[in-house]
């Protein structure tokens, strides 16, 4: 039987192969730009969003061939956002995925351009995905644009986060920011899998709610890891939230209660799946994995 670990390893291999095909080689001009893109894309990311695309897609019977490009596109959008978030004018971070951030390894201008063009490549990847019908491709592009954009997507969330700097946020205000900044793309990953797998309208609603819980779970565990793990284990600077006096789940509820909350959200996410007349073991496994992640 295919274990969850096998599934995750298979996703990684497929996504990495798709990314390698979609991103120009480091030997192609302008080489510095393509080196920079590959530096960030192939830095050992966990490929959580592609795993969600694949897990939801397979739950609805989509083939892995049909899911590959879209999963790679989501990872490109995610990576572009990391490169730009790490810039000196934004979070000013030196370490990401265990290696120097793009602007530290290359330079700021190259990092800006690498992020810019990763977004372009993501939309191009979906637009030219011949295995999907034109209608599906357009739905996916529109979905990803909303999730990555404004007024309720990732960039809007990033702006809200910037605007709130120095302010003490309530957990409700914090959740709104996270729902846009990280939740929107996680939810879109799940909905993309459901669109490719041609889920029914009612199933789409259930998957969307499941994914929103997953996004929240991801954020709580992210906050917990920032407190409980070291920089080496995370591959990014640990303890940043406390240093920036950011509102976090462990900061608000304490570590133990936050763990309990994570367990509760994971149970709620699982409950959303009960209504689906499908084998949802893969999705339940994925939620468990996120709840118990160590990095």
């Amino acid at each position: 039987m295919l274990t969850l670990a096998d599934f995750v390893a298979d996703v990684r291999a497929r996504v990495d192969a798709a990314l390698d095909e979609l991103i120009p080689g480091a030997d192609i001009s302008p080489t510095r730009l393509h080196e920079a893109i590959r530096w960030s894309v192939f830095a050992g990311g966990k490929r959580v969003r592609p795993a969600i695309v694949f897990a939801v897609g397979e739950t609805f019977g989509a083939s892995r061939t049909d899911l590959g490009r879209t999963a790679a596109a989501v990872e490109m959008i995610h990576t572009y956002s990391l490169i730009h978030d790490d810039l000196p004018a934004m979070d000013d971070d030196d370490l990401r995925r265990g290696r120097a951030t793009s602007h530290r390894q290359f330079d700021e201008a190259t990092a800006i351009l690498a992020g810019d063009v990763l977004q372009t490549l993501a939309f191009k990847a979906i637009a030219t995905d011949e295995v999907l019908s034109p209608e599906k491709r357009l739905k996916l592009i529109s979905l990803m644009a909303d999730a990555a954009g404004t007024p309720s997507g990732m960039v809007a969330g990033q702006q809200l986060d910037l605007d709130a700097e120095g302010e003490t946020l309530s957990i409700a205000a914090l959740e709104k920011i996270h729902r846009q900044k990280t939740g929107a793309l996680i939810t879109a990953s799940a909905v993309a899998g459901a669109i490719i797998g041609e889920a029914e309208e009612a199933e789409l609603v259930a998957i969307r709610t499941f994914a929103e819980k997953l996004g929240l779970l991801f954020q709580i565990t992210d906050d917990l890891l920032d407190v409980t793990q070291g920089t080496a284990a995370l591959g990014k600077t640990a303890g940043k939230d406390a240093a920036a006096a950011k509102a976090t789940y462990p900061g608000h509820y304490g570590v133990e209660k936050s763990h309990e909350l994570a367990t509760q959200i994971c149970t709620e996410a699982g409950a959303e799946l009960a209504a689906l007349p499908r084998d949802t073991s893969l999705l339940r496994g994925l939620a468990e994995m996120i709840a118990q992640r160590k990095s």
Copy 2:
């Protein structure tokens, strides 16, 4: 009879209306992000690329309704590139389109996000353009992604420009950079109009060559204006090329010879149109207008 001035004014009104509809209002959260986008988009840009989309599209019989969204999308991609090019890590400019650049008026982080999300909105605008068939929309998205991206589009050209900083470039090397940095999106604007107007394959080839000449003409006149006009007339810092010791047409050929070259390229562009069994007076007029532009 519709004059060229009427046509350009009509394009501006249509494109501005489309942009206003496509970009969230400055009263919608996050307001700072939407204010910043609108600051740069509605700064009195000349709308050269939308005019090219409309002029080529109408030459092939496309309706203005069919052309509006794509023209607005091109302008959004162009404006995103201006916002990012002006950043301190790139050209570090204070003035654009006669007003403060985005990072000067707002802040650097907001300017990065405003550029990022303008790109997202551009692809979304085309993907959801219900007046065009799904196949046309996908062709346009792919075309724009290639023109804005890498290895032969705008961002690649910007990277080549960065890589060449401090080097003395030949006119051939300079032309290669311009062909990507500004030429690619100008050419794509023309090709987009031809796709929407369902031009024949041979006509597409002629239009592409015409547009490449137009891009070159645009660059020569841009270089000339940088030498001959003041900052107030340009709405951006004048004399920057000389200050940066950049290779330019007037720098290489002198001002008078560069004017002659512009006239010659304009004639060549017109000659490309001779093969088209269409009324090409609008396109000839547009080329003339670019050749004689004063800002």
